[in-house]
Amino acid sequence: TELSGDQDFQLFLQRNLEFTRKIRGDVAALQRLVCDTLQLCKEDELLLVRQDLDIAQAPLEQCHRRTFQAETCFSQIRAGLRVYHGSLATIRALLPGHAGLVDTLQLDMANLSSNIQQQMEDLGLATVTYPTENQDPVPTFSSQFHHQVGGFFILANFQRFLETAYRALRHLASL
């Protein structure tokens, strides 16, 4: 489908580029909180522990420049937002005093996903409608330390996911 140049599509991209920047800012705020309160700040100090933590990862290969495919990329972004929406329950448990920030983040993620879905439908692309409630089980950890390191990596992976999604949207906006 010929996407570039469509005025509505450009407006969608401009808006949701800013929205993604907002979400990245909120994730960075949570990462700072994990660093300040749990003293977990540097990823390269936790690689050994990570090896046996089952941390959610969301594939985005269709959004990478070499294999870029807009429709699948959009679907992968939505699927990833859903995975991380569920994983944030782990963060809420780690930072009980900051549930408000986690709630706002989950609201924004749900909005971004429905914005993408509606734009895909406007472009006549096939979309998936997820049930509102998230059934994925919240992961359990064998120790408090593992729970904290798990939370650290959920945010680190989510931040990388958002950077890739942001670059894909920016790539589309530049076409």
Binding site: Q14, E18, R21, T104, N115, E121
Partner: protein
């Protein structure tokens, strides 16, 4: 007059009418239920608040007496219609119905909304339009572009504004927002706004952090600023204004990129104190997007001209 429960029943249909239109009422008196009215003819009469009005009386079913009344042009906004009977030489009020009159609600006007960036609540306000004289309820309605559920908010106690909480909004996407006014005589809707809530975000002003003269180009200055909290992720377009105390008007510099954080400008007099202020708005905001307030004033005196 002893127990008049059921002795007389007054009906007005409809009880709420457009101002100036006709009102018909009927009063049915069931003599045997009116303690004290057993003897003599039942003569029914009417009082509109305290003014007698004439009705026409006839026999009704089951030995009841019925009086019908028509008020051709009812131009009170509110009145009480009493059904009376003669008793011991006095006029007894034995039944009552309230009549209200007014207009269908006026179309709410000048609907405008502002998104508060602290809690992302969308506060909308409107003008109610001419008074309908009738109890009128207002509801702000909000619909996402896929016409899913209609959400919104209800103003408290007669206010003409209310706030839609973040959970009911869809950010960065066109929403349809309007006000609906309803009373017994009808419903009216305001214009429908089609806006992305972010377009009406109310920005706090930037803060001018430092202003310095750039040494080798003596008539230029460099200034640095911080953007308001919660706007770091936005593309902002800013304006600078400055003037010397004796200048009548502000000089304006527009098209400044907010995210840059610094800018240079030349053409200043030497050894002169200038006042500076800055404001910003979202570059992508539509015409509706409003400017932030001007930042607090920051004064700076350019240095003296270098001796040639």
């Amino acid at each position: 007059l002893g127990g008049t429960l059921g002795c007389a029943s007054v009906t007005v249909s409809p009880p709420i009418v457009p101002l100036g239109s006709a009102v018909t009422a009927s009063c049915t008196v069931q003599r045997e239920l009116c303690q004290g009215l057993e003897q003599g003819r039942v003569r029914i009469s009417w009082m509109l608040d305290n003014k007698p009005v004439a009705g026409s009386q006839r026999q009704g079913p089951g030995g009841t007496e019925v009086s019908n009344l028509t008020l051709p042009r009812f131009n009170h906004t509110q009145a009480r219609l009493f059904c009376c009977v003669e008793w011991n030489g006095t006029k007894q009020r034995i039944g009552m119905a309230e009549i209200r009159a007014g207009y269908p609600p006026a179309k709410p006007l000048n609907l405008s909304c502002v998104l508060n960036l602290d809690d992302y609540g969308l506060t909308c306000q409107w003008q109610q339009g001419t008074n309908s004289h009738l109890p009128t309820s207002f509801v702000l309605k909000c619909m996402g572009s896929r016409a899913q559920a209609v959400t919104g908010c209800t103003p408290r106690g007669g206010h003409s504004h209310c706030t839609v909480p973040r959970q009911l909004l869809q950010l960065y996407r066109q929403m349809e927002i309007w006000v609906s006014a309803t009373n017994s005589l009808g419903t009216a809707e305001s214009e429908h706004l089609h806006i992305d809530p972010m377009d009406v975000a109310k920005l706090d002003p930037p803060t001018l952090q430092s202003i310095q003269s750039i040494p080798f180009q003596t008539d230029c200055i460099a200034l640095a600023w911080d953007l308001a909290w919660g706007t770091k992720h936005m593309e902002l377009q800013c304006e600078l204004r400055y003037r010397a105390p004796e200048d009548p008007a502000w000089a304006l510099v527009s098209g400044i990129i907010g995210q840059a954080g610094t800018a240079q400008h030349c053409g200043f007099l030497f050894g002169t104190q200038y006042s500076f202020q800055m404001r910003c708005r979202r570059s992508s905001a539509s015409a509706l997007g409003s400017w932030s307030e001007w930042s607090p004033v920051r004064n700076y005196t350019t240095h003296e001209k270098a001796p040639t």
